[in-house]
Each structure stands twice: as C-alpha cells, then as structure tokens.
Amino acid sequence: MDGMVTYIGLLFISLIVGVAAGLLKGRFSGRLKKYVSSAITCMVFVLILLMGLKTGSNEAVINNLGLYGLQSLLITVCAILGSIVFAMLFERLFFKDGTG
C-alpha cells in the first residue's frame, strides 16, 4: 500500500508542477499549444508501446488474449449500465423534487 501512496503522490506532483509551470508561463502561443498536444500524443504512443512490450513478453497473457478480451467487455458493459443507473438516480434525487 505504501507503494501506491508514493505512486499517486508522484503522479499528482507531476500534474501540479505542470499546471504551475503553465500558469507561470502565462498564455501559450498557438505554436506552443501545438507542441504540447503533439508531445501528449507521442508520450501516449511510447507508453502504450512499452505496455505492449510488457504484455508481449508475458506468455500467460498472450495465450489468453481472447478470454481476457471477453472479460474486459463484460466489465465495460456492467460499468456503463451501473453509471447510467446512478446518473438516473442522481437526476431523481436532485432534480425531480421541484427544487432543481
């Protein structure tokens, strides 16, 4: 659990330092904004590539890719249904009692 706290902490600090640096710099020029957005795309590419490397070198995962795909889909369907039900519950609680 200690590892998790460090992990979340490092990620949040990185995010906050990014926001702070951006605020200090002030308004970005159009060119800088483009750099930022292509930097994000490049990093996501490298990260997913590294993830793929880790996955590809793990035989147990590769041999069960089909099964994992089906299980992933079930999690997605249940998560979407759960979120819709809760959004409707939210609407009923806060917006159908005449105060919304």
Partner: protein, 201 residues
C-alpha cells in the same frame, strides 16, 4: 477516433516485439521504472495543457454545485458495475474495480495497472476502457431516448470532456456541453486517484 488507431498501432507493435523477444535487455529489466518516468512526464505535459484551459472553474460556477455531484454518481455506478462483473467472473474484485475506475481513459488506466499489477490486468484495462469509449458512442442515441439527457453523460465517463463530447452534444443537445465537459474533467482527476487505490485493495 484517429488517436485510437495510433494507440492500437503502438499496442500491436509493442506486443509483436515482445512476443518475438527483440526488446533490448536494458529495457526489459527496467520496464516498470521506464513506464513510471514516462507517466510522470505525461502528467506534467497534461498539467501544462490544463493550465491553458481557464474556462473550467468559470463553467463549474455557472452550473452550480449540484452538478459537480453527477460525476461522483457516475464514478460510483461504474465501479459498482465493475464489481458485479468481477463477482460474475470470480476475478480479483479490487482489480475489476480498478479496471472499471478507468472511466474510459484507456491510456492512463492501462499503463498505471501494467506498472502496478501486471501485464494481464493492464491489457484488460486497455481493452475494457477502449470498449467503453466505442460503446458509448454507439449507444448514445438509445441512452438519450430511454434514459434521458443527464444519463447521456454517464457512459462516456472521463471521455465526455474531449472525444465523446461532440456525441453527447449531438444527441442530448448543446445545453449539456458544459455539464459533459465538467463531468469528464472531474472523472479524469478521479482516475488518477481511484485506479491505484482499487489496485492496492
């Protein structure tokens, strides 16, 4: 949608290279550290990007405090749904909930879980959260018709701030755009906290 193609291409190249074993040993032994460093860099740049978006706080004030609770409900519903799926499949419930807590942000949740838990759960998080973005686009007209405009914000999860925002607006109307955006931003923040939290359970 083109970013999804880039992601799938990166994943395919990575997996093929991994299966063929052409990864340099120095990369192989340090892959978790590499992933962690890249993630911090990515979040730094995302922070830079966020600092240029001044409208978030203004828009939050505009719609009132109640609407800020909507993403909290969406988060709870997604995680409970994933819990049910985990119970059905008898998989580790913490991992199932961590995958559900990706809220459609596949790049971040997948990489986090690959680093934290392992390649299997990371791959499942990637697939599950890519499915979430795709499915929410497909089912949007039905959700608006049968469940209402507020429910239309739910399926997209964290993606309603960018990729699925136009879809929400198209079917639920432009009056939902701000709520959709704020919900997506809030859920994205929650991904950073909740994915490691549930993975650690």
């Amino acid at each position: 949608m083109s970013i999804i193609l880039i992601i799938l291409l990166a994943l395919a190249i990575g997996i093929v290279a991994g299966v063929m074993g052409i990864m340099p040993p120095s990369v192989e032994s340090n892959i978790d550290t590499l992933i962690m460093v890249m993630l911090c860099l990515l979040l730094f740049v995302i922070g830079l990007d966020m600092s240029q978006n001044k409208s978030v706080i203004k828009e939050m004030r505009h719609i009132g405090w109640k609407m800020v609770l909507l993403p909290v409900f969406i988060a709870a519903g997604s995680i409970l749904g994933a819990l049910v799926a985990g119970l059905i499949m008898r998989m580790d419930l913490g991992n199932a909930m961590a995958i559900g807590a990706g809220f459609g942000w596949y790049s971040l949740s997948a990489v986090m879980l690959t680093g934290l838990v392992g390649a299997q759960i990371g791959t499942m998080a990637l697939l599950s959260n890519i499915f979430r973005e795709m499915l929410s686009v497909v089912i949007m007209p039905l959700v608006v018709k049968y469940c209402g405009k507020i429910a239309a914000i739910a399926p997209g999860g964290a993606t309603t701030m960018d990729t699925t925002l136009p879809v929400v607006v198209r079917y639920a109307g432009s009056e939902m755009s701000v709520i959709s955006f704020v919900s997506g931003v809030t859920l994205s923040m929650l991904v950073i906290v909740l994915v490691p939290f549930f993975a650690g359970l």
